[in-house]
């Protein structure tokens, strides 16, 4: 069995004991501190995002009006409650979901480079969305009507779900999932979904092309309460289950065999992890399009700060992922105001170089 030593070594040497009676090598105190800091950061970013926007509505005067008991101007009410608030909520949900899905996948694949995008889940969701944007008009009314505005998200959901099922069928044999087969199958599915999407793009008209571009790059611009309510419960359910996987994911770092010798029900735990990843990533992609790199960058940064212990890594990923996406959305809304960048461009510009940096740091372990 080959020894895999992926994963960078943050800093050199040793982790010293914090002041007090803690043991050297115990990073839990620092992790708790970082978690608290991230919670504060998230609150600050969330409130800040409510004050930024193309319209002139500012938060503080509005709060003052509210505090003095007067009624809000209808315009301010709409801007705040129906535009900025759902957008902030969606950034929080999608960012948290993508980051946690990334962290769980990396733990499951025992590889800091794994990502929901990698095993084709996002591509499958993308195919569903592209298919509906281009061919949706051909659907008989009795199918399309009940979904009205949700047709694209619903189709993206379905795509993510089907891809995950296919992936699972291909890579599971005699009740065991091979991580290598799963990764390779993911690459194949991704290529297939990408090719099919590419064919569909040729059939698209100009208006559809614009929609496609926006969807492909990812955006929170379409945030509405109904989308938040569609994706929110699924994402929250996945986020609630994931903490119970922490100990198993930690043990898995020592290999599947070692984890099962430590009493971890490896097979069941892998199944649950895959379900959580598909739910969180699928729901996120469904409402926001292909927002890349959050799932790789956030867990990686956090591992540098607090170590790879999933008991802390998973909640921290949710917090930082949410904060990061809300912040990226603020950038997307302001740099080219009054127009707006797709947020996927912002995360790609920030995340692309970072990803290369991770690759460089891991080059030796990857056989380069």
């Amino acid at each position: 069995m080959a020894t895999t030593d992926l994963g960078p070594t943050p800093g050199a040497g040793r982790v010293r004991s914090a002041p007090g009676a803690r043991l050297a090598g115990d990073r839990s105190a620092r992790a708790r501190l970082v978690l608290a800091g991230l919670a504060v950061l998230l609150c600050v970013v969330a409130v800040a995002s409510l004050t930024v926007g193309a319209t002139g509505t500012a938060l503080w005067p509005v709060l003052k009006t509210l505090a003095s008991g007067e009624a809000l101007a209808p315009r301010d009410r709409i801007v705040l409650l129906d535009i900025r608030l759902p957008r902030m909520a969606m950034g929080l949900l999608v960012g948290g979901a993508l980051a946690v899905a990334g962290a769980v996948m990396q733990g499951l694949f025992r590889n800091p480079l794994a990502d929901p995008g990698l095993v084709g889940v996002s591509a499958g969701a993308g195919l569903g969305a592209v298919g509906t944007i281009v061919l949706g008009g051909l659907l008989p009314a009795w199918i399309a009507a009940p979904f009205a505005g949700y047709l694209v998200p619903v189709a993206a959901f379905a795509g993510a779900w089907i891809t995950t099922l296919l992936l699972y069928r291909v890579s599971t044999h005699h009740g065991r999932t091979s991580v290598a087969v799963m990764l390779l199958a993911g690459i194949a599915l991704q290529a297939l979904a990408g090719a099919l999407s590419g064919i569909l793009v040729y059939l698209a008209n100009d208006a559809q092309l614009r929609d496609l571009t926006f969807w492909n790059l990812g955006s929170l611009a379409g945030a509405t309460w109904s989308k938040v309510l569609a994706a929110g419960p699924i994402i929250l359910l996945a986020l609630c289950v994931v903490p119970f996987l922490s100990r198993a994911l930690n043990a898995l770092a020592l290999g599947e065999a070692a984890a099962s010798h430590m009493g971890i029900p490896v097979q069941r735990m892998k199944n649950i992890s895959i379900l959580c990843v598909a739910a969180a990533a699928g729901a996120a992609v469904a409402v926001s399009g292909g927002i890349g790199f959050v799932g790789i960058v956030v867990p990686h940064l956090l591992r540098l700060a607090i170590g790879p212990d999933h008991r802390f890594l998973l909640p921290a990923s949710a917090l930082l992922g949410g904060a990061l996406l809300i912040a990226a959305d603020m950038i997307a809304r302001t740099v080219v105001a009054p127009a707006e960048l797709p947020i996927g461009i912002v995360t790609a510009v920030l995340g692309g170089p970072f990803f290369l940096w991770i690759l460089l740091r891991n080059r030796a372990a990857l056989g380069g």
Partner: protein
Amino acid sequence: MLEAVGIEVTLAGTPVLKGVDFAARAGEVTVIAGPNGSGKTTLLKAMTGEVAYAGSVTLEGADVTSMKGWELAMRRGVLPQAAQLSFPFTVLEILRLGLQAGRMARRADLPVAALERVGLSGFEGRFYHDLSGGERQRVQLARVLLQVWEPVADGRPSWLLLDEPVSALDIGHQLEVMEIACDYARRGGGVVAVMHELNLTAMYADRVALLHGGRMAMQGAPREVLTDEMLSRVYGCRVRVNAVPEGPVPFVLPQAAGI
């Protein structure tokens, strides 16, 4: 008693174990020896459920397939031949993984004791990836020890299954690790160790199981098994037991205390 009866394992279409019977008693160190590829690791993996096998494996008379994973984890620790770690954990964090899998999960003081036991005091804060091969091997042993810290728990023996626990160690640490294994057995636990070092085996084993080409060539006390003819036949080279050959190079023979 850890007992394997009629174990047959086929890997990638090739029969690797062809009907192996093996037994180890609690309170003893049982060594599995044999040439490369003879099936030592495979036998250990069959007994820990890592590879599919025909035959039966019982622990104190109970079929292991009828036991829950966490239940088995409380009763036996397994040291793999090749350990891996995919994220930068510290030594302490790794030891705690072992501790949490066993019945002493609440004893936060034990990791320090385990490190001292394997001669790595003060290594708690080191990153595993920064350690030398031998240091890593001893950290893994400490992790396994923490999982089954008490040699006897609830009146039943605990088991250590070790695949080449001293392969990366210098002679001093080889003796240290073998002393740990011996001590564990003396206090009532069971130890099964795969070994290439026949001198250490002679010094520390209570019983030796010699594998050859997927079959059990012989099982018995060291002085019955470690003979000129048997070793020469199994290892395919001239072996003389109890004869230090005259020659141009120095011959180093480590000796256990009290021998």
